[in-house]
Structures are given as structure tokens and as C-alpha cells.
Amino acid sequence: MNISLKPAETFRGDFSARNSDDAILRFPFPFPEDAYMYAVNIEPHVRGGPTAAYDAVFDIDEHYIGECEDRALTLIDDPLRCQVLPHMRLAEWDTLELLMESLAFDYPSLFELHRQGDQWRWVNHPLGIDQSFTFGDAETLPYPPFEYITRQVQGDFTIQDQRENNLFMDGGMVTSQADWSLNFDLGMSFHEWHGPVPVAHELGVFDRALAYLLRLQFGKPVRRLNWTLTVNPRLDTSPENYPEWGPDKATITPENVGHKMCLRVELQTLTRLPRSNAILFGIRGYLIRLEEVVRVKKWGRRLHRVLRDLHPEIAEYKGMPRYRQTIVDYLSAFDDGAPTNSGTAPEQSRL
């Protein structure tokens, strides 16, 4: 895959992060219809989809360097953003193996993996890393294996142990989350960590999703999309740092909403890990300003309709009440009432 990486942008402070035209067109827009309701929207994670964001097993895009640097900054302030319980040792190596193999295969010009038995050499060109180590021996890496590799990949990751007919969140690297805390959820079961989600419990969504995931097979990963709204392209919207970003919500005006308000989409992948039988949950986040979204005509129309008609409890859960009307008013200017085609693909090849 041919991608050009931007020099480091910022996802805090002056928020210099912008999406190029290519990045906008490859955005994984989450709404296939003009209305939204919770569903078990899980599909096989195979290469290829409505946009180029689906072309690799783990997507790397133009923001790679800036996102890795933002993660490193967050970890300096709060090392507990990366935690793995001791019984997940094999899952750590599973994760490292899967990510290195996938990245080297999908992006040979950016990453290289050389193996001779247990002697591995990992080359990460964008971050200037060339590391030789012994697979299975954590002492030969500068960080524990799960932390080592997830510092070098965009998106958050959690690892779920499977036991007692349930899944337990027994590890993770979480620095770009939509207001949830690994330190709080660590060790929780599937229904426990989904406790705060409204409406979906009553629909039985989590019972069905858990039954499905317990039978997730090695070699057959699956994916789903989730979404919310975030003020500014800020990766770290954590409960721990709420004082940093919470006040931003009060800054939204009709004049700045298009520039400051971002649609935040998570391309979530679930992969059965072969050595540990754990499940790796990848939460690959994408941030796009409303003024960028509406440059794709279909997406502007549809986002207006979805947010205008959204179930009030879901809007509340996603933190929208304060500025929902401001957003809907802004987006209404980009909705001419024309019908939209189903599916999420942009239906235009340039902006």
C-alpha cells in the first residue's frame, strides 16, 4: 500500500491535525442508512470495504507519526493507560506476533520483520526503530511485548481472556478513548464493562454479541464500527483527563462548530489469538471535523438526518445534548433533501 505519512501533527494544544483530501475520502463513515439504532453490526474483517481504511488488517494512515507521539506523551503522564494482568503473558506475544506480521505484510515499505527461529528483527522505518530480540523472552525488548508493539500502532487495544463462558478485559493499551477507562474496567466481564451503555442491554444486544464472540474462530476476525462526537481532534478524551477536555464542550458556537466539532469513528476489530485463546480487540479511531465530513456530499446529507433524529438516550450517552442543536443547524445547510443511497461509500472519487 502506498501512503505518505505527515510529519508529526498535534492532537492536543494547538490541534494542528487536519485530514488531507485522501484521508477524507478514505474515512470509515459509520452510517449506512439515514437513521441510527444499536445493532450487533458485526461483519467478517476481510481486506477491502467501502473505503481504503478497510484495505489492511490494521490500518496505518497519514497521521501515524503524530498519533504514536501523542500516545507516548499520554503514557508519560499516566503509565496506567497500559496494563496487562500477569496471566495474559501468551496473549502479549500473540499480539506482538500478529501486529508485526500484519504490518510487515501490508506495508512492506514502512515495516520489516525478519525471523530465524526465535531470533526476530523488527524494523519500523517511520519511527526509526531497528530492534533485534528473542521471541518469547521479554527481557530482550525495551518494554513488555504488548506495550512495545502497541506503542507503534495507531488505535487502542484491549485483550480479553476467555473463561467461565465469558470474556474478561485483562489487559490493554488505551490512550485515545471515548471517555472510558482501562484502569477502571480492567478485570471486568463483558456485561460489566458494557454496563453504562443505554438501551442496548434491553435489546439483548450484549447477550447475543457475547455468545457470538465466545465462538470467534482463529483465522476469521470480525469488525464493527462505533461512533461518537468529540470537540477538537483530541485523541485522549479519558475520564482521568476530563478537566482537560470537558470544558471544551462549552466552547461550541454556530460560528466554530464546523471547525471544532469532530465525528469520531472507531473501526473495531476482534481477532482470536492462537497461543492464548484470548481475543484482541482493536479500537482504531478516526477523527474528522464536520467541515471535512460535509465535503463528501452524501455524508453531509446523511449525518444531518442521523443526528437530527437520534434517540434521546443515545444522544445523552454520547454527550451531545449541550450542542446537538448547534450541530444539526450547521449540518442542515448541507442537506438539500435529496435521497441518499444505502451503504457508506462516498460515491465521489474526488472532493
Binding site: H87, L90, D161, R163, Q217, F218, P274, R275, N277
Partner: protein, 307 residues
């Protein structure tokens, strides 16, 4: 695709079969307790049998299985014993693990009988690798003791019982510390003995792990009418419903092929299933509206499936 790299007779009835990747690359990593489904190319049909991997977990250069010739074989194990040859190409599924080690256990108590020891051969390698506490008891016939002795190499933690009388499960469970996990694999009668003793002892279900094997057995032939496809297929006395569906070119979902995982559940619209699985709840069985196609058959001449 895999190539048979070697076949080693461990006893007149037990063989180790070693596979290597046909393309010269590596197999995917597999964990202790994982199995693969081996597509066995018989003269008139393909058998698909699940076998536990006994190779060292994580070893990617080769996979190993151990096959016992079943006394009344439907053909699969007999073919592997009589016709499999070094160099032959065999189709293997990706590994799946329905019997994983619980790494939170303070100690692992492994009980097996007969060929049910196979997943524990991989367990032993994994447990020894990290220095985990374990105790294994294996029961087998006197005639097969030399083969299992060679496989297990008895030690203070590994005991071979050539009579089930020397394996007192109740006494064994009573002397275990808290946070011991019990793993059981063997024929149905052995599984029943152990799980009943565990129930009597108040053993927590979350710390009891079972892997049944044997998979499909034959029975009276019956017809399966596929309501949506509008066709009727015959299920012969020596094949399972799942195998009959596959033979008819229907790509039915499956995973363990032993009635344990739940993947092959099909909705039943008419007729009465003869349940042989370990998955459906009692209520679901009584409702007669679902069947696990890999092991269950029919009590009526015809089943109508929503397929």
C-alpha cells in the same frame, strides 16, 4: 494443505502422524488443547475428524496428532492406520481451541482415560514451560500401558493407572487446594464418573473443564428435508447429518464436530431430533426445535430443517 511427514506406530492400535506445511512455510501457532479437523480422503467419501494437536504449543514447523484405530471405525481412523503414507497431501483446518488452559489456576489437575490423553500431551509441554503446578492421572488398558508410559514418562506428578480401581477420583479431589482447576478428557463413561464425583464434592463449575471426544456415531438412516432449499437428503447409517449436508454440497457451519461448541445448531421445523450433543440446554432439547448437526440424529423417519 499439509503433507504427511512421518507416521510412527506407538502400539498396534495407536499411531502418531506428523504433518508439515505443504508450501514450505509455517503452520499458524496453536495452543495447548487446540484441535484441527483432518479431511480424510476415503475411497467413496471424505471423513472430517477432529484430532487434538499433541505437538509442542506454538511450534509452527509441524503439527502432530495421535490416532487410535477405533474398534468399529466408520472409516476415518481405519484409513489413517491402513492407508495414510508419508508424502501424502492432507487438508487440515485452521486450529481451534475449545479446551484451553485456564492460566488463573493455582494448580492444574488433569484426568484422562484412553486416547483422551492427547490434549494433555500439549498441556504438559505448556505447563512445564512456565513451571505451573500440575498433577496428571491417566487410566488405560493394561495392553496399552507401554505406549502411554512412553508418551507420558511417569513421574511424581504423572501417574498411570492400568485399572480404574487405583484412580479414586473422590479421594483425589478431596485433597486438592483451593484454586485447583480440573480438566477431564476421555470416553463418556470416564467423563461421567469424574464429573459426578466433582459434583458430589461441590467442585465449582468454573474450575471444571471437559473435552469429550468420539464425535459422530452412526445410527438408523433418516431423511432431512431442507424447507428453504426445497430438497431432501438421505442421511446414511454411517454418516452424520452434517456430513450428509456437506456431501450434498451445502456449506453448513461447524467447529468442533463433536457436539460441544454450538456452532452447527440448525433450527428444526418438524420431526423429533435424537440429541447426542453436550451443548443444548434441557429446555432446548425438550422443545425439539433445534439440532446439532454434527452428532445428533432423528427419532422420526424425517426431520424438517429451516435451511
Amino acid at each position: 494443505m499439509a503433507r504427511i511427514k512421518n507416521i510412527i506406530a506407538l502400539s498396534p492400535t495407536i499411531k502418531r502422524i506428523i504433518f508439515e506445511p505443504a508450501d514450505g512455510n509455517l503452520f499458524p501457532p496453536a495452543a495447548a488443547g487446540a484441535h484441527v479437523i483432518v479431511s480424510i480422503p476415503g475411497p467413496t467419501r471424505v471423513w472430517k475428524n477432529a484430532y487434538s494437536l499433541v505437538s509442542k504449543p506454538g511450534k509452527r514447523a509441524q503439527y502432530e496428532i495421535i490416532v487410535r484405530r477405533v474398534t468399529h471405525s466408520r472409516g476415518g481412523s481405519a484409513w489413517l492406520h491402513d492407508h495414510a503414507e508419508i508424502g501424502q497431501m492432507i487438508d487440515l483446518s485452521l486450529p481451534a481451541n475449545l479446551f484451553p488452559i485456564d492460566w488463573l489456576a493455582g494448580k492444574h489437575l488433569l484426568l484422562s482415560a484412553g486416547i483422551g490423553v492427547t490434549p494433555f500431551l500439549a498441556y504438559l509441554a505448556a505447563l512445564k514451560d512456565v513451571g505451573a503446578a500440575f498433577e496428571l492421572h491417566h487410566a488405560c488398558k493394561l495392553s496399552e500401558a507401554p505406549a502411554f508410559e512412553a508418551l507420558l514418562r511417569p513421574s511424581p506428578h504423572i501417574t498411570l493407572h492400568t485399572s480404574r480401581n487405583t484412580l479414586n477420583v473422590t479421594e483425589l479431589l478431596a485433597r486438592q487446594k483451593l484454586n485447583t482447576h480440573l480438566y477431564v478428557c476421555g470416553p463418556a463413561s470416564f467423563m461421567d464418573t469424574v464429573t459426578e464425583a466433582a459434583t458430589r464434592a461441590g467442585w465449582p463449575s468454573a474450575k471444571l473443564h471437559t473435552e469429550s471426544f468420539g464425535g459422530a456415531t452412526g445410527g438408523a438412516p433418516f431423511k432431512a428435508r431442507l424447507a428453504r432449499a426445497g430438497i431432501t437428503i438421505n442421511v446414511g447409517p454411517e454418516e452424520s447429518l452434517l456430513e450428509a449436508l456437506e456431501a450434498a454440497g451445502i456449506n453448513a457451519p461447524c467447529l468442533c464436530r463433536g457436539g460441544a461448541c454450538g456452532e452447527c445448531e440448525l433450527p428444526v421445523l418438524g420431526g423429533i431430533p435424537d440429541h447426542h450433543d453436550h451443548f443444548l440446554s434441557d429446555a432446548k432439547r425438550a422443545a425439539n426445535n433445534a439440532i446439532m448437526a454434527c452428532v445428533s440424529r432423528a427419532k422420526t423417519p424425517e426431520l424438517i430443517l429451516d435451511l
